[in-house]
């Protein structure tokens, strides 16, 4: 009776088993790493924009306040993006012929909005309101990072549910005095009022901030 398998079948079988094992290891590794790796949340990814707007230059260099452009951050859920008109309040006077700003001038001339690419996004099943966070002492940089150090804007924090809950479970240490909200370099220091004082000052703590319906409405 002849052998069903040739000797080379041993090698093929070993390779097949090794492949299955490698696939298993890779699959488990992927499954484990995906929720834990910032890369998959697009943290620190640079996104191409029609105009390479530099927050570093405008905020740190020129000292423009966040609210000059993101005007509705104190009153609306939406911080707001500056209309072309806001850009042109200055750029109709300075850098009027800059090649980089051609899309901005074109936008005003044609009355067609500039289409920016999103940097941060929350899933549609999450309710997020900028104004309440500002009103209760959460600064911009708590979620958006040191925007004034960003030549091109990127997503600085993961903005996952875990990230939100870290603060919602214990908001005190994240709160800052009212005059430091828009300071992207702010760090808790020795002169910062203790968390309990800030919590009382902002009247935080009356509601269970981890209730599902706080964010999922």
């Amino acid at each position: 009776m002849t052998a069903i398998f040739r000797p080379s079948a041993n090698l093929a079988a070993t390779l097949a088993l090794a492949f299955v094992a490698a696939l298993l290891v890779f699959g488990v590794g992927w499954w484990w790493a995906w929720p834990r790796v910032d890369w998959s949340r697009h943290v620190r990814w640079y996104v191409g924009q029609p105009v390479p707007f530099s927050h570093e230059h405008h905020v740190a260099g020129l000292g423009i306040d966040c609210r000059f452009c993101h005007t509705s951050v104190e009153v609306s859920w939406n911080a707001g993006l500056p209309p072309t008109y806001t850009c042109m309040t200055c750029h109709s006077q300075i850098w009027t012929n800059a090649e980089l700003l051609a899309p901005v001038r074109q936008s005003l001339a044609d009355d067609k909005p500039i289409v920016w690419n999103r940097i941060t996004d929350l899933p549609d099943y999450v309710y997020f309101n900028h104004s309440i966070h500002i009103a209760k002492g959460v600064g911009c940089s708590s979620c958006h990072g040191e925007v004034d150090r960003m030549p091109l804007t990127y997503k600085a924090k993961t903005l996952t549910m875990g990230f939100c809950l870290d603060c919602h479970r214990d908001p005190g240490p994240q709160l800052r005095p009212k005059d430091q909200i828009y300071n992207t370099q702010w760090q808790r220091s020795a002169d910062t009022p203790p968390p309990a004082t800030l919590l009382a000052q902002y009247h935080v703590g009356g509601r269970a901030l981890t209730d599902c319906s706080i964010c999922h409405r």
Partner: protein, 92 residues
Amino acid sequence: MSPVSRQWRSLDQLADDPSFVSRVAQEFPSLADALAVPSDRRRVLKLMAAAVAMGGLGGCDIGEPAGHLIPAVRVPPNIIRGCRTFTAPPTS
């Protein structure tokens, strides 16, 4: 692979009534094409399973940055994005 049994949606279709087929072709051209291809039970189940499985993928939204932000060129006065705009009722 031969169909286990022919699938049909109405008695007219089962009888393969020419007037019915022409009416369908007139009303829903794509449905007439689909009727021309006999679909067996196995294929239907496969398509249904694929639809259910892929439907679940729609829930895989992890909030990745995607899409665009389109601010206005000029903001009309008294309009704040995300806030309701209240106007006085036209009473005198």
